[in-house]
């Protein structure tokens, strides 16, 4: 057991080192991302501000609270992009045969899939997330107590796991269809819209879906609501969010592992 863990750690470290080296081969390539990502996210929060200024707080959430929510969601998105980006391109790996290679090695396929590309470029996604979140914290007067920090970390880990589970489950579709790039786009939009606005603006049906079926409400909305001491008008959840988010995250992750294994079983590789 210990040797297995050490084996996996050593491979993961080597994968990470090679990933950094590969990304540094084309440093200028970062330029377009470095421009696009901040434009996209800062304009997103700016448009929320415009709407709140011209109209009224959204479902009782004023701009500082919205910034806190938006930043919290964006942080877990950034971390997902760093650690789980390979789940977005399972279809490509299937078509180009790189997925076959994972099956030819004596290690867990899922581990290889995820560990083989630590996307340091994704830190660019984390920067606007961090800035907007800290700005939101400032505006709402978030208290940086040890308890709050631990809660925050648990929420972030849970949030990343929930996001990752979604992409893993959907990426599995590529085993059947050989294509899922558009599914990734779909999921990204859903996650973005589901985590950066208060869930309360959506109709009851969608709130139920985003709580119990595709539980993306736990990524940012429920935790933010509780951090900010806002009663969620829709559901009174019995669990404390600091436990609920990581618990939901773990449950989703285990489920996604099961789905992934199902998908692999029915995987037929590209070409014949």
């Amino acid at each position: 057991m210990v040797t297995t863990i050490r084996h996996y750690f050593s491979v993961a470290a080597c994968f990470a080192r090679l990933a950094v080296q590969r990304q540094l081969e084309y440093p200028l390539f970062l330029f377009s991302w470095l421009l696009m990502i901040p434009i996209q996210y800062f304009s997103g929060i700016w448009m929320l501000k415009i709407i709140v200024d011209r109209f009224q707080p959204l479902n009782g959430w004023d701009f500082p609270e919205l910034a806190f929510l938006y930043g919290l969601g964006l942080l877990s998105h950034g971390m997902l992009v760093v650690f789980f980006i390979n789940t977005w391109q399972i279809d490509n790996m299937v078509i180009q045969g790189t997925f076959d290679r994972l099956l030819l090695r004596p290690m867990s396929v899922f581990f290889q899939l995820v560990a083989s590309y630590v996307n340091f470029i994704g830190l660019i996604d984390c920067i606007p997330g961090l800035i907007i979140f800290l700005y939101g914290c400032q505006l709402v007067g978030f208290e940086w107590t040890l308890g709050n920090i631990i809660k925050l970390l648990l929420v972030l880990i849970g949030g990343v796991l929930i996001r990752a589970s979604l992409f893993i489950s959907l990426g599995t579709i590529a085993f059947w269809t050989k294509r899922n790039a558009s599914m990734v786009g779909f999921t990204l939009s859903m996650l973005e819209r589901g985590t950066m606005y208060p869930l309360g603006i959506y109709p009851y049906v969608l709130q139920v879906i985003f709580t119990f079926i595709i539980p993306i409400g736990f990524i940012s909305f429920y935790p933010a609501a509780e951090f900010l001491g806002k009663g969620s008008e829709s559901f009174q959840l019995p669990l404390n969010f600091a436990l609920a988010t990581p618990a939901v995250g773990l449950a989703c992750f285990m489920l996604s592992q099961w789905i992934f294994r199902r998908g692999m079983r029915s995987y037929e590789s590209a070409g014949s």
């Binding site: 084309y26 200028l28 390539f29 970062l30 330029f31 377009s32 991302w33 421009l35 696009m36 434009i39 996209q40 304009s43 700016w46 448009m47 415009i50 709407i51 709140v52 011209r54 109209f55 009224q56 959204l58 479902n59 269809t177 294509r179 899922n180 790039a181 558009s182 599914m183 786009g185 779909f186 939009s189 859903m190 819209r193 589901g194 606005y197 208060p198 309360g200 603006i201 959506y202 109709p203 969608l206």
Partner: protein
Amino acid sequence: MLQAYWYITKMRLLTNLAYRFEVFASVGTNLILMLASVFLWKAAYGGDTGQVQALTLQDLTSYTILSIMLASVFVCDVQDTIYYKIREGQIVTDFYRPIPLLACYLADDIGSMLSSMINKVIPLFVFAALLFGVPWPASPLGFLLFIPSCLLSYAILWLLSALVGLIAFWVMELGNMGMVKDSIVRVLSGSIVPLWFFPESIQTISKFLPFQYTYQTPLGIYIGNIGVREALTAMGIQLIWVVFLYLLLAAGWRRSKSKTLIQGG
């Protein structure tokens, strides 16, 4: 000659129709964007039936639905096409083809537009109509003006894409700048939040940029926020942008081409 272009268009149309799964996912994505935006507006009005900036909730709902539908019709793959062709070094051989390259790319994109009309816009329209009611145009005349304005919008967007594509001839290493352009267009075209809500200073600057004439102009005409006289003026400005961008593209394309052919890619 035209037959060759029609062939490209038709092939693209057929290919796109074959990707069933992609279509479902794309409709789903746009549906989510549509739902999120409409509910955001609902929350912003908060049950209020009044007007903000002379717009009602119904106006903004129609605006949003139409905006999403336009976004899935306005296919500008040209920027990616040029980028990948240069990256793969294919562009040089393509230059030696007997028909003009840019026209081929346009024909290709028009094929994608036609397939999108069939397999994306129709389902989106049906869903929108079921969920929020049919987004009728403000007036029949508004609808009549909306169509040519859309064509001009597409011309502006396509020319912008092709121009951004040209950047790759000069600085390949910078990655695909089309993404950057797209993120700017999304905000400044008013496709998500109309520019009428933006601060005055931004609105003033925006009048001198091409972006607001791509989405806000036709959509404003459709919901009647832009009257007939203003609409005609706006379409005149659209036309000026089309001519200006076309000349810019023609000049840039000629220079890129000679540069590429001299250097041999």
